[in-house]
Symmetry: C6
């Protein structure tokens, strides 16, 4: 069991990550305490990239699971598969991470049914074990193993929330979009546009974020700003680029589209 190959899960190159506060120190201490961590924040604000950056920095393999409602406990833990010698066991990503000492990252954890999520409980308290009931084995987690989960508290429905008994197993860090200066720097760097264009794009995004809860579920993310910048860098007229990359994806509501188009025209008209 000690020869599990972690190479496919190693982060080869340093991911681009722009710290915005003490989050790196805090996570480093949390990892040292092997405290399971919960990252909260809106879509596209950089939670996934932060985990990649920390896995790279801490030199740990990273196993990411994109949670969805079809996900079963077996998808996390593993299952028996049939081959020429009969059924053989194949570890799921959670089990693999526990054996290997990886950071296991459950992305958008509230998308999973919370009845599935409870399988992480015994790995996230003092036991740090995972019973493979179907296999009759109890896996002791590797000393370097840690569970990280992320979700967006902003638009979850009432029926999708973590159970209290799950929450009580995690420390939590709150992420948000970076402040305008930092975001401008990120957009300019990733999209390859000048800082004047980047400033304008960030202004448009700010407007949209003020509409959260007033007709929009979410505001324009940093990720979409980078896309808009790339279109502009390729010669698409800025207003067309903004409509394509920022406004039309966000909403089907004609009034809301008009409002956002007006914001685009203010800066790029």
């Amino acid at each position: 069991m000690s020869e599990i190959d972690s190479a496919p899960y190693r982060i080869a190159a340093q991911p681009y990550y722009r710290p915005v506060g003490n989050e790196v120190d805090l996570y480093t201490a949390a990892y040292a305490a092997r405290m399971p961590m919960m990252l909260k924040g809106p879509t596209g604000c950089g939670k996934s990239r932060f985990v990649e950056y920390m896995a790279w920095k801490l030199k740990r393999p990273l196993i990411t699971v994109a949670c969805n409602e079809d996900m079963t406990a077996a998808d996390l833990i593993g299952r028996f598969l049939l081959d020429i010698n009969g059924t053989t066991w194949r570890d799921g990503p959670l089990t693999l991470a526990a054996r290997m000492g990886a950071i296991c990252y459950l992305d958008e954890v509230v998308e999973a049914r919370q009845d599935t999520v409870v399988v992480i409980h015994s790995l996230t308290d003092h036991r740090r074990t995972l019973p493979l009931e179907k296999k009759g084995e109890v896996v002791e987690a590797h000393p370097d193993f840690q569970v990280v989960i992320s979700y967006n508290p902003g638009y979850q429905s009432l029926t999708k929330d973590l159970k209290p008994s799950t929450r009580q197993r995690f420390g939590a860090m709150v992420f948000d979009f970076p402040n305008p200066d930092v975001e401008t720097e990120i957009v300019a760097h990733e999209a390859g546009v000048d800082s004047i264009t980047a400033v304008k794009l960030v202004e448009v995004a700010q407007r949209s974020r003020n509409l959260r809860g007033h007709g929009l579920d979410e505001g324009i993310s940093t990720r979409l700003l980078v896309y808009a910048g790339r279109l502009i860098a390729m010669g698409i007229p800025p207003a067309d680029a903004c409509r394509t990359a920022l406004v039309r994806p966000l909403t089907d509501d004609p009034d809301m589209q008009d409002t956002l188009d007006a914001a685009v025209d203010t800066f790029f008209g």
Copy 2:
């Protein structure tokens, strides 16, 4: 893995597509930026044909998935199948497209459960990877790979909508029926009728489209106009052809049928 045969997914002949604006340039730039794209517009307005045309023009293979509510994550990603040597893995269309560098087109994406659609998330952000958890492999997308989705925002129920965290990964282009002149040209070309007949058919369609939201979910599509034209070209009396190809398919409501029949009689009576 590098020898995947993309031939079955190549578009052999140039598809008939009549541009109506700057959509070809915009898509070309979006593809160059590898921005995932979302095509919005009513049924039968030409979204699918546009994607075929662009795949042909960009010389990329095209893998189309007709989304439906039964579709599972495994239908997109792949699954283990049993053969004489036991279970072997078979890539799903999304995985195949990611390996091959194809355009992967998820047609009518809101028909799928949105909990299934989240499997595209890691392919549509900076990661451009697809974890095959059941297989223990992480697929890096080919540099030419792109995801395109389409849907009709017009008649979706409240319970069928894209998640904000999905929307935020796409640029968006809006399609509608072509303007009357262009539509007349298309109907005449595809149905083989004279332009006077084509003009009248387009007039009937316009009337029906004004009834959207007033008893009709959708107006008559260009596709149905072509069918009506073909029946007329084969000698079916035009009013019969219109009833068969335009009115009866659209609605079971007797009042709405009378209204549409009257429109037919205005032009073909």
Copy 3:
């Protein structure tokens, strides 16, 4: 693939069908245009028999699928089955029909979940292809292939209806019970009763059809009239035959049964 045996799907003998209008010419033109067709009308009015008649007349094989809510996309498209060499693919009826150039008839299509029905979309627009995603094959429809669907718009619940994006792919023909003279001829011919008895049976049916929406979901069908006629031809007293074949099957409501029994007694008392 070119050697598919269509013999089991050929209509050997000319089915008895009594045209009531221009439906044969209209369908012939629609088939020539390879327009997918939708047949609408009440239970037992002859839609299925019309399709059989046209398949016989056009010399095409006919593959019928009785739709039901359990039907999955795999039931239409096909699936992998296990045999001694492992899993082998077996075409479903839709795939088989597409390869063979058959008329594929989806009977009572609204009984299927509409999320299943969307698998016919790519076969019913300009593409005329069927992607077999699980098999990694794209089937090009045979030039003679056509899809026909039927349903009864009369008693469908609000939750069972075709999607607009499905409707927009079909021409439509409306069927109803034949007029009294034609129906009398049919009943006399098929049941082997004299025309006086046939006239009376048709009169009883007319009365019941006037009760549609007033306590009855449907009126007495031609098919039940033929059964009643056969019982009479075997010597069962006509009133007993009518109660058994026309009244008792139609409703469990005692008041409605009394009303219909009175109609029977008017003609056969």
Copy 4:
């Protein structure tokens, strides 16, 4: 296919059945016309036994299916099973009956989901065929084949009813408990009690049947009367026998039990 062994489905000995009207002649004619039949009536009034009797009298094998909500189309039609040579097809009871020329009796048909029941449609109209889509075979029904269904219209909920398109395929016969003289004869014959006791038991049952819809879903059936009679014949005090076999099974409602106990005491106190 012609060598199917029908022996296990033959009724060896004449079942005890006491005709109460013209039901034997009517059924004989219906069978001669191969009209599918529907038997309606309360639980325990003799529908199942009547079918057995007619199968015996007509010298046809009888295949009974006890319908339930878990029943799938495959349970009726058949499925592929795996054996040493791979998957082999096994006919379901409906298919077996169609090949063999049996009477196929779907007992308590409304217990099945009506979406399952539609698989009988093509066997119950002029087609008399059963497409085995999974197998790629179309079974032509044996000339002696007939479908019979039964149900109890008395206590069905609104959500459980036959579809109109199913009803329109059947003739119908209505059953009820026999009249008191006949029922007394049956109870005395089957339970082995004297006719005075049998009369009293039938009187108790009559009282309970008057309570249908007034606190009871059903009255006491002939079957329970026979059980009560047998307990009495074995020396159990009649009042105890009636409480055990007639009252306690019927209801958990204390008031209703008191009412029925009083009826018992009136005749056996």
Copy 5:
């Protein structure tokens, strides 16, 4: 088939059962008449033990099925399993009991979905047969076979009840907790406490049973009294023993716990 080994289902030693009325004679007669039986009464009042006692007394094997909502018809009847020669049939407990002539005891039958329970119908009327549709076999029940079901009518929800068509197949016996003198004798005998302690425990139970329907679903059962007695016999202070074995298990409601604690203190304070 005649060599089925019934040894594992034989009751080796006489179970402790304390008759409280004529239930042994009544059941003996019911079994002699092969009348299916229904045992009604609250949890823990001795229904299961009574069946064991009768099976021992009548020298019949006993096959018990603990009903639950996941139970399918196949769990009762049997299924095909795969072994080295392909699929082989394995009888379920109901089939096994029918072949062996056992008493088949469906414990807590309303926990099963009533659509599953209908599979017992043909074994509980004059037919005494069980069609194994998947296997193509009709099992004739052994002459000694009998079906017994139990349930608790006290706290069943409205959605969980036996169908009338199921009820009509059974005789019924009503059980309740024994009278105080008998219950005291049982508690003293099974827990090994003196009769003064047993009397007090029974008094506490009586109080709780008066609260049925007034905040408690059920009162304290004889079984819990025996547990409390055993704790006392091991030296646990009686009030602690009562809180642990009688009060805390019964309810999470603090007010109800106070009421019951007060009853405990009255007798053991």
Copy 6:
């Protein structure tokens, strides 16, 4: 069967457990009586650790099952798996525990569907047997076997509760967070902080526990206090450590976060 290896389920080292009352004696007596036990109390108050401690003290193996809504009866009991010789049976954790004489601990039992939980019934009354219906075996529990269940009565929804027929099989012990002195000792011991810091952390927790039912489902658990202490011990500023480990995990509600942050600032500001 007697050679089951219990070694993987033995607790090697004495778990840290700080008794807070007579719970050790009470459980010891309950185990001696083989009374099934139910442990009630909030998340993170030490129920799981108590069971581990008792298993270690009583020298019994411990098999823990983390209950979840996907859990089926087969997950507890066992199932047939396919290997090179066909299907072989694999015991589930409940069956394994019953054979081995382990303590079987169903953690968070109300997370399971209560229809699954009924499979423990025959192991938790006088029978102490487990019928393996699919295998045709009746397992007699080892004399040392005991079932223990836990749950949190505080935040269960109305739809998640134990059935009365399940409750009546268990003795019950109520757990809560330890008193402040004991909790301070635990936090200081496990986190490695001085007692002044530990006192303050416990004070913050007390405040949060007073908010239960007033905006919080649960208060801060001892487990989270230990995490906060570890972060402080690693040099993270105490207020940051408390926000990360105590406040942010507990709630997404901004008002509630402000209230808790204020409590943190009172003690660590």
